[in-house]
Symmetry: C2
Amino acid sequence: MHDFVFHNPTKIIFGPGRDVEIGRELQSAGIGSVLLVYGRGSVRHSGLLDRIIKSLNEGGVGFVEHGGVISNPVLSHTRAGIDQARKSGVEAVLAVGGGSVMDEAKAIAIGAAADCDVWEFFLRRREVPAALPVFTIPTLAASGSEMNGNAVITNEESQQKYNIATIHAFPRVSILNPELTHSVAPEYSAYGAVDAISHLIEAYFTKQPGTRLQDRLVEGLILTIMENAAIIRDEPGNAPARSSMMWASTLALNGLTPAGVGPYTFPNHMIEHSLSAIYNIAHGAGLAIVMPAWMSWYRPQNPEQFQRFAREIFGLSSGEEGIAALKNWFKGLGCPVTLGEAGIAAGDIPAIRDNVFDTARIWGVDQLYPPTALAEILQLAV
Amino acid sequence: MHDFVFHNPTKIIFGPGRDVEIGRELQSAGIGSVLLVYGRGSVRHSGLLDRIIKSLNEGGVGFVEHGGVISNPVLSHTRAGIDQARKSGVEAVLAVGGGSVMDEAKAIAIGAAADCDVWEFFLRRREVPAALPVFTIPTLAASGSEMNGNAVITNEESQQKYNIATIHAFPRVSILNPELTHSVAPEYSAYGAVDAISHLIEAYFTKQPGTRLQDRLVEGLILTIMENAAIIRDEPGNAPARSSMMWASTLALNGLTPAGVGPYTFPNHMIEHSLSAIYNIAHGAGLAIVMPAWMSWYRPQNPEQFQRFAREIFGLSSGEEGIAALKNWFKGLGCPVTLGEAGIAAGDIPAIRDNVFDTARIWGVDQLYPPTALAEILQLAV
């Protein structure tokens, strides 16, 4: 075990139908008005937005709407939200949607409380000093954004998809109503499972060996995600499976599993961020392509852990078999597992490589991932 | 999965030597003075108290000492601490010690902020409205008190060992320095492992079936506790084992594993509390006696889960074998596993039964545990 700080102050309220408690929660937190952040209409068509607005009214909480968040949320729309938050003087930000909506809401909360442009924080030029309080109602089991301080935003002009992580962006309260995920389209349900698994394996494979407690927590979560993703694929309205998936995906990126494992890296996310920055593909789809390739490339650096993964997750004896089984499992969920299947030509690899390398420099892993290594990994994804 | 609220705002700072960060943490939390709560001298002899006082001085934090907490901490000493806190006007309570010290510190923090006698809360006659902020530096891996809102106090006049649980008693910051546990006596190291396992099995066995995510988290923690307890028994100064044990015992009672499992009960703690209230035996020793007896009695009510336990923890096929293996494992750690081994006569069973039944009524489980059932369980512990 290594030194760590674990501090996750988010209050989780979990259960069917509980989203309507948001007005009361805001009221008891002393919040008088919120910026209500959401996506492109599905929360309106489903009736969810009306329910939330009714709850806000009942709680005496005023609101200003900031809809239209897109997946892989962009900086220009984030800046517009910051302007709106500042002008209206709202006291908090309430996200109703998936990871993109929650991430943009966090970036708005940070930007609205800052005296500089929000992108400065993503470029790691400044430390985040504060944020408006964030509240979330997730509609997707995937990103874990409802219980962490992370946000990923794409600067669409520069094709940079960058992240920040700060204690100030942890939601005060997140209400998890698993029923909201029942109507998620099959491919996005699958991408959510892939995303949650990806959050677990980054530290699991890149940390130093010997932290078996954390290994066991990761394996328990991966097994849970896999068994429930299979049920959801066959029966999208299966309530117990949707519930388990929602809580497992939250725990997959709330700081629990990497606490104590020491230094680790996020290579799969680093590479995938370039795919969605350039091609605007879904994050989970990009991860299903990147992960098996990265795992094959990285396995020789940590063979015992890949063997452990194969044994504990698939009951297989070799690391290579475990990687093949995971790739096959992604396929079985309907995910693309090669660049070609996502319509990305092998000839683009040099451009992707250069985009990834920019992130590698910002994340301080350019020694571990020089351009040659990145090209090798991408080549394994062809 | 059932509805739940999970809210654990405690900040954990983990690592060797980090206890000296306490002054800075208090300072940055704006705390000007603390009631410094500790036990009967071991923290003084070890030099820990001097280190902490130096850190408080460096952080400009004043303090008033309240030493002399005993195991199974008593109400009279708690009341004295409340008086001291009130008279001195300290702004927070800092516990340096094991579960008893942390629990008494929490009770003092609650009592000092209340307008009634603190025992009213333990009798469940009033809801806890507030508490002074609590900070802890645990010296034992056992109770999990460093990351939860629970406190157990014994009213020595009435021989009642009762508990409270409130969001207000969650420590603001707990600094976990695993080195502090290296010198813990072998029997208390063993009792700590038993205590941590007991926290995990209460919900695991008494919840409704079908929450496999939580089952896996519990099993991962139990396996971790068992493998490290065995290492610590043979090599008390093994740093990785002490570290893993400390974090595992914290996670064993921080609300993570029962979140979503629905209703469950704490029968083993209910029964053990009477043993330590009447005979003042160590909590972990009492649990090692109670658990195998309770498990044998309860197994027919949830046979599948006992079979799962036997398989996942011991690789055995029947529930009975799993219970026998756990009892044997407790023995191997040097714990008493019968009332007789703790010097408690079988003739005392009626008196113990009556004491437990008082708690059963307060906890609202007197239908599940009528006097006849309690006598049966105690008889199995002879």
